[in-house]
Assembly symmetry: C2
């Protein structure tokens, strides 16, 4: 009765060079947790055919769902769609319904539909489209891989349209206690509590602020009563 | 004459659950770019022995340098040191010099050196220590893997102490031009420019702000003159 698993692939040299700070990973992580899908791994890869194809193949066979962000725009460095097609050995070409979506969007906006924009209608054979309410150019789904845009507003809209179609498990409940003691003082009692509750996950996340050392201790599990019972004991140990 | 390559492993359930937004990846990416080391891949993995060991083995054999963040504190969920030892088939135990560093630090602070804190002196056989000027507990280096703390202030201090010892390649120069046009209008001229300069990397990173569509176009390369020449042509194309 374990939850479905997921992995994410963030595609883009701009993240790896430090030029852009990725925000899509954090957004997806939070959304998946809410619906009871366990994000187990994220890989950030460069705009490189071999790297993208290898990550797609490895993660799509290892996890229930895979989500990608980035590389589906109109410029020469947008190679994700071709890599997905190659990873699943499918043809890829401009598809009529995707072209229609773009044509309508650009007609409304009074923008020319040129060859570069038409690239965004290239969809791997047999894929289902993902709606893009922000800038029209669709994402798509091949097998268990959901291919989405890198621009955060578009990525978030695509995640919102895709998640209701996926069957999640039990949402993970988490409770957090801030303890203003060094982790070295927390470790002993917390370790004992973790042994007592093998079905819960307990994590300690240290911080230091204004010279004070402390930690946020998080107890996670799918049974709210069990999480609460453990949290009560944790509070008693550090009262 | 290509640059050394690097990969990073971010270890921690708190990132994958969406509880914490990682900042170490973005920091390391920027620092490596400055010294001419190409960050090619990042993997975020959970607090799971098998996942950590597999990532360490895969990335340490594929890239010149590997950097990890997270999981070296005193609590039961801090399993990184044991995983690194297992990945390289080395013994691990409390080491005298690491214990001495901790003992001095806690004596100064008037803090008890208990069993949990002593765990942070457990170092894989043959490792070199990485100084921690913030909270004393050291990181360490095994072969080409640099094991560092997850707390951002500590991670950043460890990166600063480690980087000067690594031989970088030629620093990457990058210039950015903001173009307030849709990417579909940028794609054609940019693609032609990219073909003209095969030794430069050109990327287009779209944005939309207050209803305006545009893109930051970044030209990167190790030859400053070549980067500037290409940027001059790019500006002329969109003047």
């Amino acid at each position: 009765m374990s939850n479905p698993t997921a992995a994410m692939i963030v595609i883009g040299d701009e993240i790896l060079s430090g030029r852009t700070r990725d925000s899509n990973m954090h957004h997806l992580a939070g959304e998946l947790t809410k619906v009871g899908i366990d994000l187990r791994e994220v890989r950030v890869v460069s705009d490189d055919n071999g790297a993208i194809i290898a990550a797609v193949q490895a993660l799509s066979s290892a996890y229930s769902h895979v989500f990608t962000s980035g590389g589906i725009g109109p410029t020469h460095d947008d190679i994700t769609a071709d890599c997905i097609a190659a990873a699943f050995n499918r043809d890829i070409d401009v598809r009529a319904d995707a072209r229609e979506i773009l044509a309508e969007h650009y007609a409304r906006a009074g923008t020319e539909m040129n060859a570069a924009r038409l690239r965004m209608a290239r969809i791997p054979e047999g894929a289902a489209l993902i709606e893009n309410p922000v800038s029209a150019a669709p994402g798509f789904i091949v097998e268990n891989v959901h291919v989405m845009a890198g621009v955060p507003a578009v990525f978030q809209a695509m995640v919102a349209s895709v998640l209701p179609g996926l069957t999640g498990g039990q949402p993970l409940i988490s409770e957090t206690l801030r303890i203003d003691r060094g982790e070295g003082d927390i470790a002993g009692p917390l370790g004992a509590l973790a042994e007592e509750y093998p079905h819960l996950s307990m994590g300690s996340y240290p911080f230091q602020k204004d010279g004070v050392f402390g930690a946020h201790v998080v107890i996670r599990g799918s049974d709210p009563g069990m999480v609460e019972a453990a949290m009560t004991k944790l509070k008693a140990a550090f009262a």
